[in-house]
């Protein structure tokens, strides 16, 4: 596997969506290609750091306010029409 082929498969690899043969080839490439190993590792860290980042959490008081407004507006309407 070449470095460019590794990049093409990177997303599927991180998502656990590769077939076994391609996965073995990719991991064999990672075992000797340091640059690709670092790209793979730091891409995985990028996803994890965003997943754990709690960006844009909805504060509870605002959450209550929005939910009350939604319920109020829904109640003023007839039930969903077909």
């Amino acid at each position: 596997m070449k470095c460019s082929e590794f990049l093409t498969e990177l997303t599927s690899y991180l998502d656990g969506a590769l077939d076994e043969t391609t996965k073995v080839e990719l991991e064999s490439h990672l075992s000797w290609c340091h640059n690709c190993y670092v790209v793979c590792d730091t891409t995985k860290k990028t996803i994890e750091i965003y997943r754990d980042s709690n960006l844009y959490e909805l504060p509870e008081d605002l959450r209550d306010k929005l939910r009350n407004a939604i319920v109020q507006r829904c109640s003023e309407r007839d039930k969903p029409s077909p």
Binding site: L10, D15, L30, V39, I47, I49, L66, R77
Partner: protein, 209 residues
Amino acid sequence: MGTIQPNISEPVSEELLLVQAAKRGDVAAYEQLVRRYDRNVFRIANHITKNREDAEDVVQDAFLKAYENLAKFQEQSKFYTWLVRIAVNEALMKLRKRRPERTVSLDEDIKTEDDSVPREVADWSPNPEQMYSQSELREILTKTVQGLPAGFRTVFVLRDMEGLSTEETAEALDLSIPAVKSRLLRARLQLRERLSRYFQKRASGDGEK
């Protein structure tokens, strides 16, 4: 090296009962659905509009629109995927209103520098969580993801932050599965590249944020 799996798995049948009750006009059942997904819709709307007040409006408008159109919801797909589709459209409409001079579309394709070739290949060490305060790190992450084109950003947010599958993301954004995969790869690589630059600067004692 381990893989990364989406983190949402909702009990669908219980949810379907709530949807069916809401379809009959049971607002209390609908409120349960709002409670279940309001945080997700708020985050997605914030990522697209980059504006908190707009995101608040999107939460209200998306849930109201979903309620009004519940009868059209086909129960073979997930309520959440259908709701995300409505929320993404509402958020894009907000963006268009705010920036009428620019057409905003998730299909805008997206001429950037050749972003598929990694340039920064130094590992992150020490760990970014130890290098920055919580608020500094959040600022960097926000700025970095906001720098992506909307079409990449939205795919990354739905797939990697909100845990939709590739298929659900394709359905919610009305994209093909290969388009979702290709945008996700480019989004991940661009974010990796930009974060690496930040973390390298700090690690090398440059001090610039």
